[in-house]
Symmetry: C2
Subunit: 172 residues, 2 copies
């Protein structure tokens, strides 16, 4: 144990200092409050997801693939789309899919319309893992939002959805 055992600053305190620092460095306050909050929250969630994924013997990258495939909603998904979605190089996705195929989580098949393409799908096992993970994650996520009432959650979601709706227009 170190001589001086510093208590770690609270997430709230760290958030406030971060906003102040970003503003001091030239950011707009109204922007930084929102963006910093979103990023802080997402990173904290990632930490919790990582712990839960250990139980399922999945890496965060593998989970990203499963989630992307599960939410594709019938649309065919190619390796390159998965790479984009996961912020990862296409060559990394090749290896990742190799391992996930070996484990029986996903299946590769040639695109009937275009032989340069490969389509990736979840297997039944893959779907099973997805549903187990969602139910487990929902527990933590509910706790995270426990401080907000039903009305506040809806308000928050509405505002975030406005931002998301604008997102595509920014893709230059």
């Amino acid at each position: 144990m170190p001589t001086t055992r510093r208590r770690p600053r609270s997430a709230q305190q760290r958030y406030q200092e971060a906003v102040a620092t970003y503003v001091a460095a030239g950011g707009d306050e109204s922007v930084q409050r929102v963006i910093t909050a979103v990023n802080s929250l997402a990173r904290k969630l990632d930490q919790w997801y990582a712990r839960q994924l250990v139980d399922l013997d999945l890496t965060q990258g593998e989970w990203a693939v499963i989630a992307e495939l599960a939410t594709a909603d019938g649309t065919p998904v190619t390796p390159s789309r998965l790479a984009d979605a996961g912020n990862v190089a296409a060559s990394s996705m090749t290896h990742r899919l190799d391992k996930m195929t070996e484990r029986g989580l996903v299946r590769r098949s040639p695109d009937p319309d275009n032989r340069t393409r490969v389509l990736v799908e979840l297997t039944d096992d893959g779907w099973g893992v997805f549903e187990a993970a969602v139910r487990e994650a929902n527990v933590v996520e509910s706790d995270v939002l426990a401080g907000l009432g039903k009305k506040q959650r809806a308000e928050l979601a509405d505002l975030l959805e406005v931002v998301i709706a604008d997102l595509d227009a920014l893709e230059t």
Copy 2:
């Protein structure tokens, strides 16, 4: 060019399908709307940050270190704290700090109070990079929030801050 050039689904469409899928898999709707929105937004921001960081010749991991040090606000920062903050193993942080030290972005010094510890600080060059990055990022971030008025931004930030304030209580 493939035979069928599918237009990629909009971010909004993908978000809505994701929420529907998570709910179908057993998640609460009021939870999934918020959490999915936060995660979608954060990942989209990460993509844009990655592009901007190329200009500064920084990886996302290196940026995470710089941001953590910049927002530490005078508090001493150890390698293990940086590893935690960046969701990365302590041994990876050792290597990352080696390279950043070589480049003159950060400085390691022994903790005067405890010789098992190492304290990490930004150099003047490191601060310069931080400020340049914040100003550049603020441009994109402002665009992302362009659809919200001043009042709505404040409302959104207020709600997110409630969630953040509750975060520490969940650290078991």
